[in-house]
Amino acid sequence: MMKGLKKWRLFSLLTVMMVFLSGCGEEYLSTLKPSGEVGKEQLNLLLLTTGIMTLVVVVVSVIYLLAFVKFRRSKVGENVIPKQVEGSHTLEIIWTVIPIILLLIIAVPVVTATYKFADVAAMDEVDENGNKTALTVNVTAKLYWWEFEYPNQGIITAQELVVPTGEKVYFNLKAADVKHSFWIPAIGGKMDTNVENVNKFYLVFDKESEGLKDGVFYGKCAELCGPSHALMDFKVKSLSPDAFDAWVTSMQETEGQTADKESSDLGEATFANSCLGCHAVSGSGSAPGMGPNLTTYGDRNRLAGFLDHTEEDLKAWIKDPAEFKPGNLMMNADGTAPIYGNLSDEEIQALATYIMGLSVEK
C-alpha cells in the first residue's frame, strides 16, 4: 500500500514536470530549449541543481508535514505540556554535513564550468599566415540598439547578428553610453556590456536558425538601460559555415556603397540628405555609426529590433521614432521632432521603399 502510494506520488510529480517541460517556452527564446553548447551545459547545471534542490524541498516538506500532522494540539491534548528538549548534537551534525555534501556535488561542476566559459585564449590564436583562426564579433550596445562588427572580416552590421554554426564564436562586449547586457537565451547565458572595459566570452550555435518560427533566435538586453530597455531586442541568424562565408563575401562587396544626393530615386536622395549622416549603407569599410548600419535592412526580420518588418511600420517609425522607442536618440534635444526634421509623406514613402530594398542576400 505504502509502495503504491509512493509510486503514485512519483507519477504525479513526473506528470507535473512534463506539463511544465512541454510549456517551457519557444525554441528561439527559451533557456530550456538550448541550441548551443554553452546553453546546453547551463541547462544541465539547471537540471542538476533543480534535482538536488527539489530533493531538499521534498525532504523538508515531508518532515514538516509529518510534524504538523502528528503534533496538533487537538491530537496531543489541550493541557499537555510537551517535554522541553534542548537540542540534539547528532541531529545538528547530520543536517550540517548532508547539506555540505550536497553543495560539494554542485560546487565541482560549477567551478569547472566557470573557468571553461571564461576561456577565451583561442581568440588570439593565429594560423601560419598570421590570420586569426577564430571568429570574433565586437558587440557594441547603444541606446537602444546593437552594433556587430567583424574585425577580421572588416564588416559591420547592426540589429541582426549573423553567425556560422558549429564553431565557437567569440565576443568582445562593450557599451557606448550606459551599461547594457548581451543575452541570447536559447544559445547561452548573458554577459554585461560595461562602459569602461571590454568583456569577452564565447557562444556556440549548433543549429541553423532557418527552421525557426521567424528564422532567427531572439536576443535581449538584460540590464535596465532607460525607458526603452524592454524594446532593445536583437535577432540572431545562424547560417551553415558555407552560407556564412557567402554572406561575408557579399557584405565585403558592399564596400564603398553609398546613397547619392543627386539620385533620380527620391528615396535614395532623401536618404542621402536626411539619414546618411548616421546610417551607413555599406557593410564594409564604414566606421561604427551614430545609428544602426542599414546595409542589410531588407534581409532583417524586424524593424528596430522588435517591430514588424513592413513598409507601413517603417513609415510610421520614420515619422515619429519616439512613439515606438521612447528615449531613443533619433529625436532632437527637446524631443519634439526627429533630428532629420519632418519629412513629407511622399519623401517618407520613397524612403521606406528605398530602405526596404537594401539587401545583400537578394
Binding site: V57, F68, L103, P326
Partner: protein
C-alpha cells in the same frame, strides 16, 4: 513629566508623539510609517502588474514604469521592511531583556525622524518633476545619464534616512549589550533579541559603504565629481561593488529579525522551547558574517573573471548550511510539541516551505555559470520575492497578529486573520511561482512591456491575478488592524503560552516598563515562572524604588527637519549639473544646515538629566492602570 495625564487634546497628543523618546511610542510610529510606505510600494507593484497583464499594454508609459520599479524596490527595502522590523525591535527588545528603554532614547527618536523625513523627501520626487528611474540599484552609468532630479532625490533621501537607520542600529547594539536585566546572560536572550543584535551589527558595517557610494554619486551629480564617469577616468563597476557590499548584507539585515520573530512564534504555539537554541544563535552569527563575503554574486555577469566568480559562488552556497540548520531547528521545535494553529502560527507554517523554496533557488543562482542565464531575468525576480515576501512579509504579518496585544493591548480578529493569510499566501505563490518559468523562458526583468508570441502571455496574466489577490490580502489585514480599535483589552499573556518577558509584563504597559527590574533565571523566563506557579510572572532583582526616566525632546525632530530643508537647497543648487537651479537654493541649504547644527549645539550645551519617578507616583500610576492593589 509626561504621561500620567489622562485625556489630552489632539494637539497635545501630536506634540507628545513628535517629542516622545519612549521606545513603545516610537515603535508605534515606525509601525504606522512602515505600513504607509508598504501600502504605497504595494500599490506601485500593482500598477506594474496591470501593465504587464497582457502583451503590448499601454496602461502606463515606459518612463513612468521605470520610476515605479525603482520606487517599489527602494521603498519596500529601505522604507517599508526596515521600519516595520524596527517597529518590532523597538517594542520588543527592551521588554525582552527587561530594560526600561533603549540605551539612547534621544537617538532612538532622532533615528525615526531622520528615516521618516528622508522617506517623505524621496516620495516628494513624484510631485516635483519625476521619481528616480534607474532601479533601486541605481547603477552608475544609467543614473548619471538620467535626466531631471529623480536620482538626486534618491541620493539625498536615502542618505538622510540611512543616517536614521545607522543611528538606530548603533542604539540597539548598545542597548542589548549593556541594558540586560540581571541574569539575562547572552545565552539566555530570546532569539529575536539575538537576531536584532546581529542585524544591528550588520547595519553598522553595511550602511557606511552605501553612505560612501551615495556621497560619491552626490558629488558626481551635483558638482561633476567624475567618480563614476568613465569618460573622465571614473569607473561604474566601483558603484556596483559599493552598492552590493551594502546591498547583500541588507538582505540579511531584514531577514535575520524575521527569523527571530518566527523563532518566537513557533516555540510559543508549539509549547516547546526552541530546539537547538545555541546552534540557532551560532547560525545567526554565521549568516551575518557570511553575508558580507558574497556581494559579488550580484555581479557574476559584470565580467570579474572566473576566479572571482568561482570564489563568490562557493562562498554563497556556504550560506545555505547555517540557513538549513535554522529550518531544521524550527521543524524539530514543532516535532514533539503541541501545535496550536493560530494566525501567527499559520504564517510561520506557511513561511517554512515558501522560504525553503526561495532559498534553494538562491543556491541555483549561486552556481555562477547557471546564473549567466538566470541573472536579470524574471527568475531572479521570483527568487528574491520568495525570500522577501515568503520570509520577511510573512514574518511581519504573523508578528503583527502575534504582538498586536503588546503594541495596543488588543487582539486582532483570528478568523479574519486566517482568511487574510490564505488570500495573501495563495496570491503570493500565484504571482511569483510562474515567474521562475518566465525567466527561464527568456523574459528579462525590469521590462515595461513585451511583444506577443514569445510564450510569456499566459504566465504574466496568472502573475497579475496573483498580485491582485495579494493586494486584497493586504487590505484585509489593514481592516483587521482598524477593527481592533473596537475590541476589548487583551490583558497580559493573551495567547496563554507566552514564554519570554514581554508577555510577563502587565497590560497596558506603563511608560517605564517594569516597575522593578526583573531577575532572569533561564531561557524563557516567563515560562519558567509559570511552570513554578508564580502568579506574578516575574521575580524581581531590586526593591520598589525611584525610577530614572529621560525627558521628552523636540530636538530630534528639529535636527531632522533641518536636514530635510537643506536637502531641497542641495537639490536645486546652482553648483549642480542639472540646469534648473533656483536662486533660493543656497540660502535654503544654509538655513537648513543652521537649523540642524543649531539644534545639535543646543543638545550638547544644555544639560538634560531626565527626571525621577518616585515610589508614590509609581504606585499611583499603577492604581490608575490596574485598579487597587495592583490587580484589576
Amino acid at each position: 513629566m509626561s504621561s500620567h495625564t489622562q485625556k489630552k487634546s489632539f494637539g497635545a497628543s501630536v506634540w507628545d508623539y513628535i517629542t516622545t523618546v519612549d521606545h513603545k511610542k516610537l515603535a508605534v510610529m515606525y509601525l504606522l510609517a512602515g505600513t504607509l510606505f508598504f501600502a504605497i510600494a504595494g500599490f506601485e507593484a500593482l500598477l506594474m502588474r496591470i501593465q504587464l497583464m497582457k502583451p503590448n499594454n499601454d496602461f502606463i508609459s515606459a518612463g513612468f514604469f521605470n520610476e515605479l520599479l525603482t520606487m517599489h524596490g527602494t521603498t519596500m527595502l529601505f522604507l517599508a521592511a526596515t521600519p516595520l522590523l524596527f517597529a518590532f525591535m523597538n517594542m520588543l527588545v527592551p521588554l525582552q531583556i527587561g530594560a526600561r528603554d533603549v540605551a539612547f532614547p534621544f537617538l532612538n527618536s532622532l533615528g525615526f525622524w531622520l528615516f521618516f523625513l528622508g522617506a517623505v523627501f524621496l516620495h516628494l520626487s513624484f510631485f516635483m518633476g519625476g521619481a528616480p528611474d534607474a532601479g533601486w540599484t541605481s547603477y552608475a552609468s544609467l543614473s548619471l545619464y538620467s535626466p531631471g532630479h529623480g536620482i538626486d532625490f534618491y541620493v539625498l533621501g536615502l542618505q538622510i534616512s540611512g543616517f536614521g537607520t545607522l543611528i538606530s542600529g548603533l542604539n540597539f547594539i548598545v542597548t542589548i549589550i549593556t541594558m540586560r536585566a540581571p541574569g539575562m546572560t547572552f545565552m539566555r536572550m530570546p532569539l529575536f533579541t539575538w537576531t536584532a543584535l546581529v542585524s544591528s551589527a550588520l547595519i553598522l558595517f553595511a550602511f557606511p559603504p552605501l553612505t560612501v557610494g551615495l556621497v560619491l554619486m552626490l558629488f558626481d551629480r551635483m558638482f561633476g565629481g567624475n567618480f563614476f564617469d568613465h569618460t573622465m577616468g571614473g569607473n561604474t563597476v566601483i558603484w556596483e561593488h559599493l552598492f552590493w557590499i551594502f546591498g547583500h548584507p541588507e538582505v540579511y539585515i531584514l531577514v535575520l529579525p524575521a527569523f527571530g520573530l518566527f523563532s518566537e512564534i513557533i516555540p510559543t504555539f508549539s509549547r516547546k522551547r526552541l530546539f537547538g537554541y545555541s546552534s540557532m544563535v551560532f547560525a545567526t552569527i554565521l549568516i551575518g558574517f557570511l553575508g558580507f563575503m558574497v556581494w559579488a554574486h550580484h555581479m557574476f555577469t559584470t565580467g570579474l573573471g572566473p576566479t572571482a566568480n568561482a570564489i563568490f559562488a562557493v562562498a554563497t552556497m556556504a550560506i545555505a548550511v547555517p540557513t538549513g540548520m535554522k529550518v531544521f531547528n524550527w521543524i524539530l521545535t514543532i516535532w514533539g510539541g503541541s501545535i496550536k494553529v493560530t494566525t501567527p502560527m499559520l504564517y510561520a507554517l506557511g513561511f517554512i516551505p515558501s522560504f525553503v523554496a526561495g532559498g534553494v533557488t538562491g543556491v541555483m543562482q549561486a552556481s555562477a555559470p547557471l546564473d549567466y542565464q538566470l541573472h536579470d531575468s524574471y527568475f531572479i525576480v521570483a527568487h528574491f520575492h520568495y525570500v522577501i515576501v515568503g520570509g520577511i512579509v510573512t514574518a511581519l504579518f504573523g508578528s503583527a497578529h502575534f504582538y498586536w496585544p503588546i503594541f495596543f493591548n488588543r487582539m486582532l480578529d483570528e478568523k479574519l486573520g486566517k482568511w487574510t493569510f490564505w488570500v495573501f499566501f495563495i496570491g503570493f505563490h500565484l504571482t511569483f511561482f510562474v515567474q521562475h518559468f518566465l525567466g527561464l523562458m527568456g523574459m528579462p526583468r525590469r521590462v515595461f512591456t513585451y511583444m506577443e508570441g514569445q510564450g510569456w502571455d499566459q504566465f504574466n496574466y496568472i502573475s497579475t491575478v496573483g498580485a491582485a489577490m495579494m493586494g486584497v490580502g493586504v487590505v484585509m489585514m489593514v481592516i483587521n488592524c482598524l477593527l481592533s480599535i473596537k475590541r476589548p483589552p487583551a490583558g497580559r499573556d493573551p495567547w496563554g503560552d507566552g514564554r519570554t518577558l514581554e508577555w510577563a509584563i502587565p497590560q497596558p504597559i506603563p511608560f517605564y516598563n517594569f516597575r522593578q527590574t526583573p531577575l532572569v533565571r533561564g531561557l524563557d523566563p516567563y515560562w519558567i515562572e509559570k511552570q513554578e506557579g508564580n502568579k506574578e510572572g516575574m521575580i524581581y532583582a531590586e526593591p520598589l524604588g525611584d525610577i530614572h526616566m529621560p525627558n521628552n525632546s523636540a530636538l530630534p525632530f528639529v535636527i531632522s527637519l533641518g536636514l530635510f530643508i537643506a536637502a531641497f537647497g542641495a537639490l536645486y543648487s546652482p553648483l549642480g549639473v542639472a540646469e534648473d537651479s533656483r536662486t533660493w537654493a543656497i540660502p535654503v541649504l544654509i538655513i537648513g544646515l543652521l537649523i540642524t547644527f543649531g539644534a545639535m549645539i543646543v543638545r550638547s550645551v544644555k544639560d538634560d538629566h531626565g527626571f525621577h519617578l518616585h515610589k508614590e507616583e509609581i504606585l499611583e500610576i499603577e492604581e490608575q492602570l490596574y485598579g487597587k492593589g495592583g490587580k484589576k
